[in-house]
């Protein structure tokens, strides 16, 4: 069972926080801070879990999620979506697209960690 996480997020402070939390638990965290090429990064790196922001420069997290679910090679990959857009509408969209877990910012560190562990264990 691998411990590779790909974090797609554009806020440097949030990247740093999540990296710290996961690294402390023994995860290997790679980051991608742009909406563009994010899907390609997922396909190339084949992480065990993807943490995905919604509002990204270039391309939205929803589009990236749709691409992942549409690609046979990686369609089953666990995706944890984190967003600062706290509306229920966004959760609906994400669930319709087949998100594995949906969480709103600000989040509890332990919740994120638990979710990542949970997703990889399944």
């Amino acid at each position: 069972m691998g411990r590779d996480v790909l974090l797609i997020e554009d806020e440097p402070n949030i990247i740093e926080a999540i990296r710290f939390i996961l690294a402390r638990d023994g995860w290997h965290v790679q980051t991608h801070s742009d909406g563009k090429n994010a899907f390609e990064a997922v396909r190339d790196k084949q992480p065990d879990v993807v943490i995905l922001d919604v509002m990204l420069p270039g391309r939205s997290g929803f589009e990236i999620l749709r691409d992942i679910r549409g690609d046979d090679a990686i369609s089953g990959m666990p995706v944890l979506m984190l967003t600062a857009k706290g509306q229920s509408k966004d959760r609906e969209i994400a669930e319709n697209l087949g998100v594995s877990r949906f969480m709103t910012k600000p989040f509890s560190n332990t919740d994120v960690l638990a979710a990542v562990r949970d997703l990889v264990a399944q």
């Binding site: 806020e11 989040f107 560190n109």
Partner: protein, 896 residues
């Protein structure tokens, strides 16, 4: 030669004969033994009042002067009687059903019983007929003078004026006696009509006798006369097409509009079917009257001395041949023509004058009680008699004024043109429901005025009524107002000129005003009754058949109540009466019920009138009509109010819809804004929460990490604070709650302050700012704090976003019109064209948000501030780098 006394004696004997005829006819009529008095022959002969002395004497004169041009005077009536007899029949039918007493009454009644129109047509008729009466007096006196001058029997030349006076007086007496003996409801004068018929025969026989005498006794037989005709100047007289058409039209119009023709044709008509006979018999009469006109004219020209008046050939030829019997007969024929015209015209005019002028005046001076007493009858008779005398006095005065100079025929045509002005209102009134009172009044007035101005007044000759200068130069020298060349149109014949302008302006005004105005309810009701007279009435046959009545009632009810409801109503009623089908007997109970049902839709008065009209039991009184008019007016008023309310509702609905759309749009904007704010707030809060949770877990965090994370928390806290400040600032600005603190200042000071506020000490990547302090010496009176906030924002943006290696910001100040413009231009890449449009929107941050360090509200705030200051901020494209222009109005920037 005939002695004057003998001639007078013959005259008196003839008049006595007429008295007897009239008296006998009147007696028979009173006893109800009308018999032959009501024959179509008498009716046709009475129409011969058309042939006056003008026709009797004047036609020959006309032929001698202008050849065949006298023919249209016979042609017009012939065409009307043959081709338009159905229009005359309509006129007669209307006259009977509406109990019309004169042409003025007809027009007044058609246009909503307008008294103004009655007065107008009466005036027109009086002014148009007076010269004609004068013409008759003139012809009688002239014929007397012929006998006097041609005689050497020693009787002195009688005073012409005295003769005219005696004739006028005699005619007044006759007309008063037989024209106002009683007040018949339908204004018929059997005695007068019979006497007129006798006179018609006398004048026809006289003219034929003269003709026969002239052809066989003087001219030497038909072939010789034909030879004379070929050699005569008459044969060479060219035919003037315009005049033929004009005179034919005038003569045709005269049948409709001449008061005396209306009197004998419509008012005195006893049976509509007589018109059918008259439609061929009267043209025949006219044909016989015109048969010998040309022979008499040519023989007269050939045998009478040069300079002899051709108007009198009918008398002078027999006289010069010593045929006194023929001459006397001719004299009686002319006398008949003149008297019959004067008598009928006087009756017709007196009816109009008394009904439309004297009676309304008298009534307005009376207390109300007078109208119900027997006084009115006497007053009406008195008014008639006075009017008859008045009309004849007018005729006599006109005769004295003009001195009998003008040729007979020209007076006749002037008169025809005058009364023809009533034609548009008359014909329009009986065929066109859209004709309105205002249209009729407008047309009549303009036609009347143009006729007076272009024909009647000039007919008195230069310096008669109009000065010679006015005739040749126009009033006040205005050429296009010359009476005989209006609008500079050259129609050489004054008659055609006047006819053309008066009739066309009359018709145009009548049509135009009618189209532009809305008839009153009474007018519309009358209009419908006149135009649809054949549908409304069924002369001679009442609604005898019960089923026919019921069927008509059903048809009417369906129109008002709708088919289903009306049919149900009728079916139920029939069932109640024990009948099948849809047609119940029209019992009083059923009619009352129907009336109530209809009243619900159209009002009680209208319902009563409508049912009454079909059932024919209740006649519709003026009161009924007025009630109908009132109801209609109320309904229209109510409907107008409803319309206004409906329009108001529509307006309100539209306003609501617009407000709703605006609210929906605002709501969408608000949702988007809240979503943005949520995002902007949650992002720093996420960092703060995550790092504070990390810091709380003391064991696993190194000292460096602790310091670093603390700083991040601190920075994000500041970022949150700034965001909230900006949001509040924008909210205040957008809600207009901001109060400006305006004070004097200088643009240079403000820029200094902004540059100082944005300088970052010790930052290597410093933005250099290039300014022209001379140009910046602009005094301002504005909210200096707010304006420097804008400048600071722009400079800070340049510091953040200018991506040049050596970033430079130029600040340029210039005057553009009445505004001062401050341009901030950096040397970076600038803002992409597609983004330029949105940079002033809220949260429109274009690049990576951390580099910016703001929430994307800065430019939105700048825009709000500049709007409040009466200026503007805009992106200035095409400057190389990013460029912003801030403009302020100079009147605001100058010291107040």
């Amino acid at each position: 030669m005939i002695a004057f006394n003998l001639l007078v004696g013959v005259c008196l004997a003839y008049v006595a004969l007429l008295f007897i005829v009239a008296f006998v006819a009147e007696r028979r009529a009173i006893r109800g033994r009308l018999g032959w008095l009501r024959s179509p022959l008498v009716y046709t002969l009475s129409l011969s009042v058309y042939c006056t002395a003008w026709t009797f004497y004047g036609a020959v004169g006309y032929a001698a002067r202008s050849g065949l041009e006298f023919l249209p005077i016979y042609l017009g009536p012939t065409l009307v009687l043959v081709g338009w007899w159905w229009a005359l029949r309509k006129l007669v039918r209307i006259g009977k059903t509406q109990r019309i007493t004169s042409i003025a009454d007809l027009i007044s009644s058609r246009y909503g019983k307008s008294n103004a129109l009655g007065v107008l047509v009466t005036l027109l008729a009086v002014v148009g007929t007076t010269p004609y009466i004068a013409l008759q007096l003139q012809s009688v006196t002239l014929s007397f003078s012929v006998f006097a001058s041609g005689s050497n029997s020693g009787w002195s030349l009688p005073d012409l004026n005295a003769t005219a006076l005696w004739v006028a007086a005699g005619l007044t007496i006759f007309t008063v006696l037989f024209g106002t003996r009683n007040l018949d409801a339908n204004e018929r004068h059997h005695g007068v009509v019979t006497a007129i018929a006798v006179e018609a025969i006398v004048k026809l026989v006289a003219l034929l006798a003269v003709g026969v005498f002239v052809v066989w006794g003087v001219g030497g037989g038909p072939s010789a006369v034909a030879e004379t005709m070929r050699n005569s100047a008459i044969a060479d007289t060219p035919i003037n097409g315009g005049r033929w058409i004009g005179v034919t039209f005038l003569a045709g119009a005269a049948i409709f509009t001449l008061p005396r023709m209306f009197q004998v044709m419509v008012v005195e008509n006893a049976d509509e079917r007589h018109l059918a006979t008259a439609s061929w018999a009267f043209p025949l009469y006219l044909f016989l009257m015109s048969l010998f006109v040309v022979p008499i004219a040519v023989v007269g020209l050939a045998t009478q001395p040069v300079g002899a008046n051709p108007d009198l050939f009918v008398l002078t030829i027999p006289l010069s041949m010593g045929q006194e019997a023929v001459a006397t007969l001719a004299f009686l024929g002319g006398f008949s023509s003149a008297t019959s015209m004067v008598i009928v015209a006087a009756i017709a005019l007196s009816t109009m004058v008394s009904n439309h002028i004297v009676m309304p005046l008298w009534l307005s001076f009376q207390h109300e009680g007078a109208t119900v007493s027997g006084d009115v009858r006497k007053v009406v008779l008195g008014a008639r008699r006075l009017s008859i005398a008045g009309v004849l006095v007018l005729g006599y005065l006109y005769f004295r004024l003009t001195g009998g100079s003008a040729a007979l025929a020209s007076i006749g045509l002037i008169s025809f043109t005058g009364v023809a002005q009533a034609l548009p209102a008359l014909i329009g009134g009986i065929f066109w429901r859209g004709a309105t009172r205002k249209g009729a009044i407008g047309g009549l007035i303009i036609g009347f005025v143009v006729w007076m101005y272009t024909l009647f007044l000039p007919s008195f000759g230069p310096d008669g009524v109009m000065s010679a200068a006015l005739l040749s130069e126009g009033p006040w020298g205005i050429g296009w107002l010359r009476p005989q060349a209006l609008f500079t149109v050259r129609i050489d014949d004054p008659l055609l000129h006047a006819l053309f302008w008066s009739m066309s302006l009359n018709t145009i005004v009548f049509l135009f005003v009618s189209t532009m105005t809305f008839p009153s309810p009474l007018e519309r009701l009358q209009g419908a009754q006149f135009v649809n007279v054949f549908e409304h009435t069924n002369a001679g046959h009442g609604w005898q058949e019960g089923s026919a009545e019921a069927e008509d009632l059903l048809i009417m009810s369906q129109r008002i109540l709708g088919s289903d409801e009306a049919q149900t109503l009728f079916q139920n009623a029939a069932e109640t009466q024990g009948k099948g089908g849809f047609l119940p007997d029209t019992t009083p109970a059923f009619l009352a019920r129907l009336e109530r049902e209809l009243a619900g839709s159209v009002g009680a008065a209208t319902a009563h009138a409508m049912v009454g009209q079909i059932v024919g039991r209740a006649s519709i009184s003026v009161e009924d009509l007025m009630k109908v008019a009132d109801e209609t007016a109320q309904m229209m008023e109510y409907s107008n109010q409803l319309e206004a309310k409906s329009a108001e509702l529509q307006r309100t609905a539209r306003q609501l819809r617009e407000a709703n759309e605006k609210l929906t749009e605002l709501s969408v904007q608000k949702d988007a804004f809240l979503s943005q704010i949520s995002h902007e707030l949650r992002t720093p809060m996420t960092s703060i929460r995550a790092f504070s949770e990390i810091l709380m877990d003391e064991g696993s965090v190194s000292k460096d990490e602790r310091q670093r994370y603390s700083r991040i928390i601190h920075e994000e806290g500041i970022r949150l604070t700034r965001l909230l400040d900006d949001l509040l600032d924008l909210s205040v600005l957008e809600n207009g709650q901001v109060s400006l603190n305006e004070q004097p200042g200088s643009l240079r000071d403000l820029l200094d302050r902004a540059v100082a506020a944005t300088s970052v000490p010790g930052d290597g990547r410093a933005l250099r700012i290039r300014r022209n302090e001379l140009a910046e010496a602009v005094p301002l009176f504005t909210d200096t704090d707010r304006l420097s906030q804008v400048f600071i924002n722009i400079i800070a943006n340049a510091q953040k976003y200018c991506d040049a290696k050596d970033p430079v910001l130029r600040v340029e100040v210039r005057n553009i019109g009445k505004r001062v413009a401050v341009d901030f231009i950096d040397n970076g890449q600038g803002i992409p064209k597609k983004s330029q449009a949105i940079i002033f929107e809220k949260f429109a941050r274009l690049s990576d948000r951390n580099a910016a360090g703001g929430a994307g509200l800065g430019l939105a705030i700048c825009r709000e501030i500049m709007t409040k200051l009466g200026g503007a901020i805009a992106y200035l494209p095409g400057q190389g780098g990013a460029a912003f222009r801030v403009t302020l109005p100079l009147n605001k920037s100058a010291t107040r």
